[in-house]
């Protein structure tokens, strides 16, 4: 399994205290494509979000997003980095 990062952008900005509006749409699609959510980070102004997943490859994540009708800016494979 690889580590994948998804960049999301919201316009208008979303409420940072609420659940990501894509979460409900995505949750049934992610397991279908073998994708597992790891973590999400939302910018304080609610305009950008980074979601981290584990998946067989980046395309599996893209397909899960496309199937769910959830927009994204980019999906890229990543690895952990020492601080």
């Amino acid at each position: 399994m690889a580590l994948l990062v998804v960049e999301e952008r919201f316009s208008p900005a979303i409420d940072v205290n609420q659940v990501n509006p894509n979460a409900d749409k995505l949750s049934p699609c992610l397991p279908t494509y073998g994708v597992t959510w790891v973590a999400s980070y939302i910018a304080n102004d609610g305009t950008r979000c980074i979601c981290v997943y584990e998946a067989p490859d980046a395309e599996a994540v893209r397909r899960a997003y496309r199937t769910a009708g959830a927009p994204f800016e980019a999906v890229w494979p990543a690895k952990g980095m020492r601080a």
Binding site: V38, A39, P56, R62, R63, R66, G69
Partner: protein
């Protein structure tokens, strides 16, 4: 004459004569205030041993936190062979409080070390004014102290334990239950309070609330990266569900175990896989299709995480079986499930049978984007190009009407793939005017690179020699995008054209890259295609042993997992070898 007086700062206000005396001495500069810090470990141990030489002095220090009175009382109790907190501590700190303070202390003790005063009125039925007065009193007497801007804490845990000892077991249970239910009503069983609700529900004997709160607590912990705590919440919840009626138990147990899908809990999930399988069996017996489906997905994930693609696929199919039990009302769900089997190349013969069965539901199933799209993929896999193209064109029209650009692109790109496999590059180039602009609309994805690759492949197949570089460029873009299946398809396609022109070395390099990419995502048909092309290239170069090795590897793939196109190329390589 020298007087030495000791008092807790906040308590001087309760004694007017003493306060007046201290103020007068201060005004006349005749007093000196010495703030006494807690005793250090060594001093506490010395003090403890002064009353009992054999006492566990470390324990006295940790429980008394350096308070000399507590240290002496605890040392005496331990010396007398009891673990009970001495009643003298309760008497010294709590019994002398007024009614407001005494009423509040048992609730705070049952609540735990850290509590939020704004929630106390709802839990205790004390008025907000009484709670404020009580807290102010307890703070002044050094029973509680502010922990942060929102919460208070007992100044010493030993005071809390002393107070808790005075609460009888049945009353304690009732108070836990009341706290759990009040908190659940205020906040719901989610977020940061969920863990507290679970703990109090456990203390109050409400197994159902405890398990529900554990689901919320587990989710909250995962959001905070507190994985051990998440696993502990799941464990606590699983222990309590056993006491629930069957259906409620299965439902809650599955919700708890579903949290194990988080990658950080993979080891826990693997350790509990027998429990997940057992629960799937119970859900199946109880006819609970959603729970069975969820459990099988989870089992699939456990296998997938362990690299066991076969078991993962088997569980995905069984999850679909579970959905089938629900019948007609979920016809769209079944169509979606069948389409997923086809898209993911999981069990295409099964998907084919499902589409055949689903057509009995009439237009509700058939006249949908998912049905036509899935059917098109199945027919492509089966090698029935005409039926595949008809279904995909219909699906494309549904997608266009619904303004679903991605679905429309997928249908068009699959049509292009069928035309390429059918050696009709001109048809692909004619279609490019439609799928290339669509790909451009889908920002951020792999569609642009794949569209370029399809056009370049068609140009290469049409005899445009310069298109080879464009295929390589598009393949590198797909590689960078980590789109393994698409990359393997493009490279296999390129290798097939290259080999037909007799360039075995180049074809071999392309097929080797295709094999790596297809293997990474376990796409059997593309793996077999790459192996067949490698065998063909090796045979062309006269390396028969290597060619045979590739063919043997391709033969080891179960034939029912191979598309008609993969079987055709494999058969061609075999005949070429002969």
């Amino acid at each position: 004459m020298l007087f030495a007086c000791a008092a807790r700062a906040g308590e001087l206000g309760d004694n007017s004569p003493a306060l007046r005396m201290v103020r007068a001495w201060t005004r006349e500069r005749r007093s000196r205030e010495i703030r006494i810090a807690p005793l250090d470990r060594e001093a506490t141990e010395r003090l403890a041993r002064s009353v009992c030489s054999e006492v566990d002095a470390m324990r006295v220090f940790s429980e008394s936190e350096g308070n000399p009175f507590f240290a002496l009382e605890i040392a005496r109790a331990l010396g007398a062979g009891t673990d009970r907190i001495p009643d003298t501590i309760h008497a010294e700190r709590i019994d002398r409080l007024d009614e407001h303070g005494r009423e509040l202390v048992p609730w705070l003790a049952v609540w735990g070390r850290s509590f939020s005063p704004d929630r106390l009125p709802a839990v205790t039925e004390l008025t907000a004014a009484n709670v404020v007065a009580g807290i102010e009193l307890l703070e002044r007497h050094g029973v509680v102290r502010a922990h942060d801007a929102l919460t208070y804490d007992f100044a010493h845990d030993v005071i809390r334990r002393a107070a808790l000892q005075r609460v009888s077991a049945p009353r304690r249970r009732m108070m836990h239950l009341r706290i759990a239910r009040a908190l659940a009503e205020i906040e719901g069983v989610r977020g940061e309070l969920a863990g507290d609700i679970a703990r109090h529900a456990e203390g109050g004997g409400d197994a159902e609330l405890c398990a529900r709160a554990c689901v919320g607590a587990g989710k909250h912990c995962l959001r905070l990266f507190a994985y051990e705590e998440a696993a502990a919440a799941i464990d606590l919840g699983c222990r309590h569900v056993a006491r629930l009626p069957r259906e409620a138990r299965i439902r809650l147990h599955m919700r708890l175990l579903k949290l194990l899908e988080h990658p950080a809990l993979r080891r826990v999930a693997t350790r509990r896989s027998a429990e997940i399988a057992r629960l799937c069996g119970e859900a199946s017996e109880a006819g609970m299709a959603s729970e069975l489906s969820a459990g099988l997905h989870l089992l699939g994930w456990v296998h997938l995480a362990g690299g066991d693609f076969q078991s993962a696929r088997k569980n995905a199919v069984r999850a679909l079986d579970a959905l089938l039990q629900r019948g007609q009302k979920d016809v769209i769900g079944l169509v979606e499930g069948a389409r997923c089997l086809a898209i993911l190349d999981i069990d295409v013969p099964r998907a084919s049978a499902m589409f055949s069965d689903l057509s009995a539901f009439g237009d509700a199933a058939v006249e949908t984007l998912s049905f036509q799209w899935g059917l098109g993929l199945v027919k492509q896999w089966e090698g029935d190009a005409q039926a595949a193209l008809a279904a995909l064109r219909k699906a494309r029209a549904f997608a266009r009407d619904a303004r679903d650009h991605w679905a429309e692109f997928e249908c068009l790109s699959t049509i292009a793939m069928i035309e390429i496999d059918d050696h009709k590059p001109a048809a692909v180039l004619a279609l490019a005017g439609e799928f290339v602009p669509l790909a451009a609309k889908l920002g951020g994805g792999s569609e642009g690179a794949f569209a370029e690759a399809l056009v370049a492949l068609a140009q290469l197949a049409s005899g445009d020699v310069g298109a080879g570089a464009r295929v390589d460029q598009a393949a590198r873009a797909l590689e960078r995008l980590d789109a393994s299946f698409l990359l393997s398809y493009v490279l296999n396609g390129a290798a097939e054209i290259t080999i037909a022109r007799g360039d075995a070395a180049h074809a071999r390099a392309q097929a080797e890259r295709a094999l790596t990419a297809a293997s990474a995502v376990d796409r059997a048909s593309e793996v077999a295609r790459a192996l067949a092309l490698l065998a063909h290239a090796s045979a062309l170069e006269g390396i028969r042993a290597e060619a045979q090795r590739h063919l043997d590897a391709a033969r080891s793939i179960a034939p029912e997992r191979l598309s008609a196109n993969a079987r055709r190329i494999l058969e061609y390589a075999r005949r070429f070898m002969r």
